[in-house]
Amino acid sequence: MRWWREYFTRNGVGLGLFLLLAVLVWAVLMIVLPQLFMLDFSLRANVPPPLWGTESHGYTLEHYAYLVRGSGNTASGFNTVDLAVFGRTILAAVFVTLVDLCLCYPVAYYLAHVASGSRARLMVMALIVPFWVNELLRAFAFKVLFGSGGVINDVLLGLGILDQPYDFVRENIALYSGLSYAYILLMIFPIYNAIESLDRNQIEAARDLGASWWRIHRRVVIPHAKPGISSGCTIVFMLSAGALAAPQVLGGPSSLWFTQLIYKAFNNSANWARGSAYAIVLLIACLAFVLLVMRVFKVRFGEIAK
């Protein structure tokens, strides 16, 4: 009660009401309720839209069961196809995250502590420019690069390393490079921000005391950059696992991304309920990863979502 009185004395009635209303609309109508309704929808039978809300639209676990068991006619009794897609998506997203971390940490360090003023600013701008190019176009660039008549194949053929074009797309190499490329900026900036706030003198002191560069990074820089690293990893993982554009453009013909299964359930099979169930599974996987990162790096949620 006291809080409310203070709140309205501080903001005035009009502004105070506006703030409350706006946040209420955002938090409840846009964030919480849609997720809950999606969960509810995913637990209901798949019936045509006119029957939604009627009795035949009852509760069932069949869509989650379908992810695990399939239609029940498979030899193994499991939906090996969809489960394999899910597993591969998660593993590949972890892989992409690790690759990005290895690529970005040195660059972020260089940017924060080696490059000087104007050069660092130029580099930051150079990092941002590719990021404003649409995600789809970035994936397309990789297609031009990796296609059967693409530059990389031409170069490798020209150098005599290959004697016939290598199908990078079928082997998913194009997809993994495209994904690592797509979200690289979201790995660099959190790490850069964290490392930049490190006092240079700490590095100097460690060096003067005879620490090797590896030890300096392990004991001084990385502990300091931990919030940045965890934040970058979380975001890159989430975006890779939830990517739709790059897998659609660069994915091999026989391999799907989990989001593509969701997309298919909505657009091709018209099975929205199954699509929602799969979306819930994806959401849970992403949340689990966030929690894992929080546990491993011992950071709080607020530090991740900075």
Binding site: R10, F140, K143, G149, L239, G242, P253, S276
Partner: protein
Amino acid sequence: MSSDRLGRAFGTVFVLMFFLYLFGPLIVMSVSAFNSSAFPRVSPWECFTVEWFAALADDGRLLQGLRNSVFIGVGVVCLAVPLGLAGALLLTQVRERARPWYYTLVVSPILVPGVVLGISTLLFWDRVARMFGLTRDSIFYDGFFLTIVGQSTFIAAYTMLVFISRLQRFETVQEEAALDLGATHWQSFRKILLPFLKPAIGSAAVLAFLASFENYNTTVFTAISTNTLTKELASKVRYGIDPSISALAVTIIVLTLIGAAVHEVLRRRESARADHGVALAADPTRPPLAQKPWFLDTALILIVLVVIAGAGTVFMAGTLGVEECKAQVLDDKRARNAERTEALRERNRLRDERRAAEAAERTTNTGDDETTPTRDAETDDAPAAERGARPGTGNFEGIFGGGLAPESDEPAAPDAPPAEPAGEELPARPGTGNFEGVFGRDLAPGAGADEDDR
């Protein structure tokens, strides 16, 4: 220390490689926009052309998508910026204990996959419409409304982060002073807080617009039948058989570069003015700031150079005679192809002769000459199929694809640009390419089955 220098050199090389990785793909794609080859590629280089830019300007669906995307972007700015501002202002006032919970809640959309946000928005408003007994013609099932709401869910979180970082430097004393002096709450908000937040509002609006403009994951579910730029782009890019996409990318990259340069100019002037202000406060006798004439600014010069280069490119393409060059390339291809066909024929003829000779030998030996004609037919068919089958299939599939599913968003196997390397050298190739480009883009011959029957 030599190891230190070695480390530094290694670091520099690493960073250089990194930037090569960053720009290489974009450069290759940009270059492919100027190659007249019907497939986006850099080698073999055919003719220098700007025709793909013209093709881009003629693409009605793409332009329609662009208009829709701009409209949606403006809508998102109007919704997400106030929401983010409210979220940030409330954050400072929520009770200490509830603050982490509140923060977690409003920031969580950033960590939720865009696909999930799109689906949940679609389902939620559909349900709301049903609660009010509305049909699917209502606003709650409208692509624009759903996309604006769906995108704002997470874009508001972005803008909120922008406002939070600005608000951290705000001194509430100013507001309190204004209230003590008799200002109303609204006045103090409008005269003190808003002016202080003005730069943040600007950058939040730009961020919101750009984030909305290039969003695909959420939009693809919420836009329903509305055509946005990214949706249109996706359906083009997935089959990647047209360099006009590269042309679009070049346009976007150039605009980005110009934007970055303008931003840099403004920022520099701002900081120069600020520096001058500080210096002036310390030493009031200082002469007024000598502003460099605007045309001497490096970044501006860069912009002008880019524009000149662009104009020069167009001019050159006009004068160099693209058509002649293309005719030349086509002739070359024909000649090469004829040569190859000739060689094949020759080889087959030799083989046939040899077989005939062998068969004749065998006939004389065993009196059985059944095998010869069938073998003949086989060897004749092989090159004919190689030459003729591709264009035929291409047209056929093209027509079917156009008739059956011009709108369908079949996630077909994207790595089988139909007829690509195999049909490439054939004289009939340009025709095939066009057909497939116009009608058949929703079909990925050969590979589609792989996925759909899964």
